[in-house]
Subunit: 216 residues, 4 copies
Amino acid sequence: MDPRTKRKQREYEARRQEILSAAECLFSKNGFFKTSMAEIAQGAQFAMGTVYRFFKSKEEIYISIVEAKVEELAELLDEEIALVKTPSDKIQAFIRVKLDYADRHRDFFRIYVSEWSGYEWTIKSAFGERVWKLYMAQVDLVADLIKEGIRRKEFRKIDPKDAALALHGMLNSTMYVWILQAKPSESLIDKRNLISTLFLNGIQKESKPSYIRRVV
Amino acid sequence: MDPRTKRKQREYEARRQEILSAAECLFSKNGFFKTSMAEIAQGAQFAMGTVYRFFKSKEEIYISIVEAKVEELAELLDEEIALVKTPSDKIQAFIRVKLDYADRHRDFFRIYVSEWSGYEWTIKSAFGERVWKLYMAQVDLVADLIKEGIRRKEFRKIDPKDAALALHGMLNSTMYVWILQAKPSESLIDKRNLISTLFLNGIQKESKPSYIRRVV
Amino acid sequence: MDPRTKRKQREYEARRQEILSAAECLFSKNGFFKTSMAEIAQGAQFAMGTVYRFFKSKEEIYISIVEAKVEELAELLDEEIALVKTPSDKIQAFIRVKLDYADRHRDFFRIYVSEWSGYEWTIKSAFGERVWKLYMAQVDLVADLIKEGIRRKEFRKIDPKDAALALHGMLNSTMYVWILQAKPSESLIDKRNLISTLFLNGIQKESKPSYIRRVV
Amino acid sequence: MDPRTKRKQREYEARRQEILSAAECLFSKNGFFKTSMAEIAQGAQFAMGTVYRFFKSKEEIYISIVEAKVEELAELLDEEIALVKTPSDKIQAFIRVKLDYADRHRDFFRIYVSEWSGYEWTIKSAFGERVWKLYMAQVDLVADLIKEGIRRKEFRKIDPKDAALALHGMLNSTMYVWILQAKPSESLIDKRNLISTLFLNGIQKESKPSYIRRVV
DNA sequence: TATGAATGAGAGTTCATTCAT
DNA sequence: TATGAATGAACTCTCATTCAT
């Protein structure tokens, strides 16, 4: 490819990222509705018209932020889950990676949790649908792990989707309250053992000795 | 009391309710920001000025809806929990009552879940604080039940608040997805056994035979 | 006349006065536009509908206040001016009575000055015209005194109307600044000698020894 | 400076002036409260949002009009007063310049007089304070001239501030009535001699032959 | 291509006035 | 006659989006 074109593409991407960064910070602080395009443009050091060259609406910026991060998270989850064998271990990895990611992207997770259960009703668009699908893909990922666990007789016969949803909720509410605390007394990652234990004990066969590997 | 005054009070309350009803429906459908006072007034069949005789701002309407319902739910929870003895049974009652209430107040729970995890950042006011406290009171209620269970050696030694939060999340995400389905294939109350089993197995002592009473 | 009818009339007048009193106080404090009918009604201890039985609009209340007081002042001026003989003395009496009246009706004079030169452009009605005529009648009263003084060769040949207007302005600005002071260091009546001296010296024949009687 | 930037500044200033002009006309005709932002925008041939790019509130427009003109007048007064020597001449210059300015800025003086004595009670803000100070600076300017006249034994021993206030009032009421006349039979400047004579005779030492220079 | 001034519909809120009780 | 709840037009101000430069 023409190196000139390449450089242009790189620059384009860089500008796009700057806008997303500025917007992420503002959305996280003030919410979607109380953040204005003027603020986003100023935060990204661009004129408003320029912002509109990259995103056709405020809504699209919002969706793009969520999409990018959720995709990144999805990849991370896939990678880490692939490293271990048993469904139990995979679920533990899932929990660990997700909490860790939230720990490191606090700003974004403010938006994430909010989107997951708050804005969905106010942002109805093709994009909203796409984000929703990404979310549900995460739930389905866990559901599949549970299904495999049931097949292996490690887990009890429960509805995999419902159980996956429950795990999602446990993680979300935990993250939510952690985010609200101005100075979290403890790292979010410390909640990992509680959630792992709680969830795995909850779905494992009663007979099976509940052994949760403690990760240091 | 003067019967005339009484009737007036009744009428006042009736009108107030009509406004709250209309607003609840609209907030539930479109969210707080995309619902206008003009829509609320029209929905309640009143002039805008009339709405302002009952509520001094849009925010107050919102808060009133949440507060009233959350308080009602809190009372229901208290009552039902008092009817059974053991922490396990009380937690099961908690889950049942909450899912049942959501089943019967679908519109409101759209707002409830939204508020619980999305709204806090955009509306911070004395009212917002009050609602937040009501939410946390529910979490604390469960935390106390868990504490008691731990004291009785029925539950494992876990952080009661964190566990309570996890249960809250499980319920919320379950309700959330159920609400999003236009025509729920099954009643929300059917999820009760899954969540009860999952959560109680999760927190109970491993030695103890996990016995979840099936409620018919 | 039927004594019953009489009592009714007395009561009617009493109610009317209560409304005017409350309104005067409020207009004086907050101005015409920032005073609401609800406040006036509440201040007079009546329902809003009742206020409208006595005055057909907020504007009419405003005008009525001004009219009543200006008429009272006009009568006082006539009486006091009649007690002395020379144009000089009459003018001094005019100044004294007006300042004294302002001293005693501070609230009203806030409105008076305001009306005299502020609100006229915002309140255009038949009533506004009437108040304007009352004001100008006061100017004409002084103009006539000056005319008489000129005829008697006590005053110089100047335009009586213009001179009268000038006196009006001197009084107004003096009263205005006095009213604005939260705690006037001195009584408004103390300004009398300055204004009398200034104005009479200004219009008297140069040859004539300027003798201003000092009133104790 | 970059010529492009310069042109932009010029255009910005031009637009700002257009808004101020339209507002001045409307405020003068209908008063502050009965003039709506929609009318101002329409009068200036702009969209409402555009008006708000230049002024952050209706109040700020109002204040800006008054401030700009009062400052211009203040400069004119300073200049003209500096051209003559004696306090008497300076006071005459003051009167002449002010009447002349009113003659040429009729619309504004409607607002000026109104503000001077009617507005203070309804708009109390940092801006209002500023305008009030500008007004009082004019009074103080005259007060200083009178003080100097007293020191030179040209004027009688009177309170300089009170006398200055009286002059202000004479000018205001004269201007006010002139403004109210739809088609003034005579130019406002013709009142100059009356006011000068009246005021200077009023404050000059009796012994001193009253010599008022007639300006052609 | 980048700009940011201009747009104008629409927001929440107020309040003089009316009228059923 | 007295009430005060109801009205709804009008208010000030915001901001996502467009487009001439």
